[in-house]
Symmetry: C2
Subunit: 195 residues, 2 copies
């Protein structure tokens, strides 16, 4: 049966979404074929609207529709939580963190072609006035640790009075000793705290 070109084009577009395989992409495309014109129009407008209105905050690099985001404008600027990507922020928000953020735009990763110059480190240097603590919350993996070490070393020299911290690493809540991996357990033991 002759394939329908416009449906194949839309299926191809849907395949670019994360985790969407050929069958799911086809189902999505077909649901839009069946949908009324208004739904399709709204979908388009929503996509164009996002590209038009969403920028990065010039201070912290998180997503915003403004030039400087509300968080940077209204929250306690003396504690900055440094993260790799905007998507790292929502979970940290849930802890009740009341300071501001700084998005690096990635981690130091020669393997992926990212050098320190590709990260927003200069922008962090520019916003250190009045800062008392830098929490470096990159992932506890090779690239995250390397990035954290680089920033800690650099900023300790430039700003010796600023506290530089990193979230604790150890056994996650609800897990079982029996199934813990060696690296995590080793780190949990070496960072043990008095009860």
């Amino acid at each position: 049966m002759k394939p329908i070109k416009s449906i194949e084009r839309l299926t191809a577009a849907f395949r670019k979404l994360p985790g969407v395989g050929p069958k799911t992409a086809w189902r999505y495309a077909m649901s839009l074929v069946d949908a009324d014109d208004e739904t399709a129009r709204e979908f388009c407008d929503a996509i164009l609207s996002v590209k038009r209105e969403v920028h990065r905050c010039i201070k912290c690099g998180n997503y915003t529709e403004d030039e400087i985001c509300e968080t940077c404008l209204t929250r306690d600027n003396s504690v900055i939580c440094v993260v790799a990507y905007p998507k790292d922020i929502p979970p940290i928000e849930k802890t009740g963190f009341g300071g501001v953020y700084h998005v690096l735009g990635g981690t130091f990763s020669p393997r992926e072609g990212r050098g320190i110059d590709d990260l927003r480190v200069a922008e962090l240097v520019e916003r250190m006035k009045g800062v008392k603590e830098l929490i470096i919350a990159t992932n506890p993996d090779l690239e995250g640790e390397a990035t954290a070490l680089y920033i800690a070393t650099k900023f300790r020299k430039l700003y010796p009075d600023v506290k530089i911290t990193r979230p604790a690493q150890g056994i996650s809540v609800g897990s079982e000793m029996e199934f813990m991996d060696e690296a995590t357990l080793t780190r949990a033991f070496s960072s043990r705290r008095e009860m």
Copy 2:
């Protein structure tokens, strides 16, 4: 943290896709936020293109970019396979069926507010010239059976020389007797064939 209106709008649009919950919709929206303008533009154009170019074949009711689809124009019109929806066609195509199709646009379902007048039955009557067999391939459920019975009764009166058939119901290939449901087994036994 202040939610970003345009991202919420795009997330809401993605939630309309089949099987997409709030978290997945958000992931899809964020992937478009991160994508380049060209990808977003192409997505839009693909959506508008589908609404503009995809129609229903005026003969069989399947999707096509033409007025009459290639299947109706080129295939053996003497055997018509009647289905409820366009999505029922691809699996039947895979059996190697060489005739044409007729999409009813649904099944007779008072519960869902669909009467016989809402189905493309008149369009089927209009295309019976030269037809030797009608295969009624609606689902083997309550509404599908009721629809099949209605069509068989009506067309047997109007066209007594046309063979009216229905795909066999029974145990699906690869299944096990032990786990068969009563209704399917009963039907399989009552339609038993000589080996």
